[in-house]
């Protein structure tokens, strides 16, 4: 679960990590109060989860009340779905640092990454100046030790004062990482101001989805999703993605779905959406089909090859869904696994052709979109 910048900064503040003065507004009419609180110059930042806000014009500077209002209206009125704005004190920037904590799956530790080349994406630094990235691994059982924090801060070239405040800040950031079961906490840039203070000018916090049962503070709402259907899917526990293409995929598992997605693209087709139809969801066919219909595919392609998810149970569900919801698009199936004979019977019963070869099924689906197009 990705948090919004303003949420990340609230967490930072609670953890004694310095952040700029700021005010959250959801309507341009609130801008006067916000700038009053924050002062000038200020920055108006769209609170959206996707990256590249700067390039997309979703972060704007303002030096006057009028400018601030104009920028706020402009961003809130943009085609991007912007639920709120963070109005923030503009910082007097001396240096920009990159700092993050994430998981290192190889060593089984937390990985602190830092770079004096902040302000750009770390992927960019990794590609062009890999030796400018400082890494420090932390055993979760031992926790981050002060000497490790100092290693990072001296590595960034800070002076003794900077190392002291920077180390204290990093220890706090690590506590936040642990306390919130974070997958990622990132400050980019961490600004060194003209008078030597460290301030988190941006903030990303992603909470591990598998830990949400013990992280009650944030609850997923509509604003965390790009579309209604993705939101509703998530509420039902059905992962759901919407794309721009024609074929709706109801597949079991990430591995198989990725392959089908490739095969569709290889064959010149395009994907309209993906609704997870495996794991704990294989009995939720009606709900899944309902969601699928809202993504308006031209054809739906169902591919499964189950272990716990019995083929015949999946087929039963699918038949049920088709009978109840009567989708208008054609449905192509390759449902394999335990109970295949019964599966085939069931599918034929509603007029579907039970394919068993995945590539054949993909080709059929692509063909059908072409036919539909004509």
């Amino acid at each position: 679960m990705k948090l919004f910048e303003y949420q990340a900064k609230d967490l930072f503040e609670e953890s004694d990590i310095p952040v700029p003065r700021r005010s959250l507004i959801s309507d341009a009419s609130e801008i006067d109060g916000a700038v009053e609180e924050v002062g000038f110059p200020c920055v108006v930042k769209a609170q959206v989860l996707r990256g590249g806000r700067g390039k997309a014009g979703l972060i704007q500077f303002a030096s006057t009340r009028e400018e601030a209002r104009t920028k706020a209206e402009q961003i809130l009125g943009s085609p991007a779905n912007v639920p709120s704005l963070l109005v923030e004190q503009a910082l007097n920037i001396d240096k920009e640092i990159y700092l993050s904590i994430t998981a290192d799956p190889v060593s089984g530790s937390a990985l602190i990454m830092a770079s004096a080349e902040g302000g750009v994406e770390i992927e960019e630094v990794a590609r062009t100046m890999p030796d400018r990235i400082i890494m420090e691994r932390v055993k979760l059982s031992e926790g981050l030790l002060p000497f490790q924090a100092r290693n990072v801060m001296f590595g960034l070239g800070l002076d003794a004062d900077g190392v002291r405040t920077g180390s204290a800040m990093l220890l706090n950031l690590y506590d936040l990482f642990r306390e919130y079961d974070a997958e990622l906490v990132e400050i980019n840039p961490l600004v060194v101001t003209g008078d030597g203070a460290l301030v988190a000018a941006d903030g990303k916090v992603t909470i591990d989805d598998s830990s949400l049962h013990r992280q009650g503070r944030f609850t997923l709402g509509r604003e965390y999703f790009e579309s209604d259907v993705e939101y509703e899917g998530a509420m039902e526990g059905i992962p759901c993605l919407k794309f721009d293409g024609k074929i709706g995929l109801m597949c079991a598992g990430a591995g198989l779905t990725n392959v089908i997605y490739d095969l569709v693209n290889y064959g010149g087709g395009s994907v309209a959406s993906y609704i997870e139809f495996g794991g704990p969801n294989y009995r939720k066919a009606v709900k899944a089909m309902e969601l699928m219909m809202r993504t308006e595919p031209k054809v739906v392609l169902v591919v499964t090859f189950g272990t716990i998810a019995r083929a015949d149970v999946i087929a039963e569900g699918l038949v049920d869904a088709i009978e109840q919801l009567k989708p208008e698009f054609p449905v192509v199936t390759a449902i394999r696994g335990t109970g295949e004979e019964k599966t085939q019977e069931l599918l034929r019963g509603v007029g579907l052709e039970p394919l068993t070869d995945t590539e054949e099924a993909v080709e059929r689906a692509i063909e059908l979109t072409t036919e539909v197009r004509r």
């Binding site: 190889v106 089984g108 770390i122 979760l140 598998s210 013990r214 990430a254 198989l256 696994g337």
Partner: protein, 296 residues
């Protein structure tokens, strides 16, 4: 013969009295797995399909020493159960649970590394040495997938595994051992850590890895080949070439982070090391035919 487990491996089942634990214990026993004991707190004295149940792993192991433990426990209890198995000196643990908290997974992996143990999973169907024994849930009765043979298989996926394995069988081969390392972003055992076992196994002629975008496990396999740690033919089936960046297609492992783990990277690393890379399941069989003809 096989790696990780065979018909002589003494298997303990944690969470044996639950619905899934009991259902699959019966299948494992029927398949020939040497299930020696089970553990569920509060259920000592019961039996599950002839397997005696104990309150704790320590009490079970005192009467029935085990080489390996299979866990049927909810993901939030996985860490505790795995530590319990490690504490009892068990060096091979298979955990099927999907949704182990990330920080727990990091600690488990670290603990396993420092104990010299192999914890396989989570979010996997487990391990099957075809025709011998299995730890996990595999529809072994589907013959066009689970045919015994001489190909070692490692996979990050569930359904896709059946898809690929069916292609391997169609091409005339079968599996020696299939190891599901699981689809989590922190697989508790990594491809490259299983590879030396397949290298040492005289009954494994080649290895197929079923990978995907995200993480660096496939790159590590390439390194192992380059380093001469693995010398048998290797075919990789990789999905996610055309996946839109930054989207999570199902499970957590399949996401590209910090510029690492694109399929392009993986293909370059693996082909650079001399492995064959299939862009679709149906190619895997053909590729195996091409390399095993060369070898044989």
């Amino acid at each position: 013969m096989s790696v990780v487990l065979d018909s002589s491996t003494r298997v303990l089942v944690q969470g044996i009295t639950g619905r899934e634990g009991s259902f699959w214990t019966e299948h494992m026993v029927n398949y020939g797995t040497n299930v020696v004991a089970g553990a569920t707190p509060g259920r000592e004295g019961q039996e599950v399909h002839g397997v005696p149940v104990f309150h704790t792993v320590r009490r079970a192991a005192a009467e029935f020493p085990a080489d390996a433990s299979l866990l049927f426990v909810p993901p939030r209890f996985a860490k505790d159960a795995i530590y319990e198995a490690l504490d009892a000196g068990i060096k091979t643990v298979v955990v099927l649970s999907e949704g182990i908290p990330l920080h727990d997974a990091l600690q488990i992996r670290r603990a396993a590394l420092s104990e010299g143990a192999m914890v396989i999973g989570g979010n996997t169907s487990g391990v099957i040495s075809t025709g011998e024994a299995m730890m996990g849930f595999f529809p072994y009765w589907i013959e066009r997938v689970y045919r015994p043979g001489r190909i070692g298989i490692m996979t990050r996926s569930g359904s896709l595994t059946n898809e690929v394995t069916a292609q391997i069988v169609k091409a005339g081969f079968g599996a020696s051992t299939l190891v599901g390392v699981g689809g989590d972003s922190v697989p508790l055992t990594r491809f490259a850590e299983v590879l030396p076992m397949f290298e040492a196994d005289p009954e494994t002629d080649a290895v197929v890895i079923i990978g995907e975008l995200g993480g660096t496990m496939e790159e590590e396999v390439a390194e192992a080949i380059e380093a001469g740690i693995f010398t048998k033919p290797l075919v990789a089936s990789l999905g996610g070439r055309t996946a839109p960046k930054g989207t999570k297609m199902g499970h957590a492992g399949a996401i590209i982070t910090a510029g690492k783990g694109t399929v392009e990277d993986k293909v370059a690393a693996l082909t650079g090391a001399g492995a064959l890379v299939a862009d679709r399941p149906s190619s895997v069989g053909e590729m195996l035919q091409s390399v095993l003809e060369k070898v044989g």
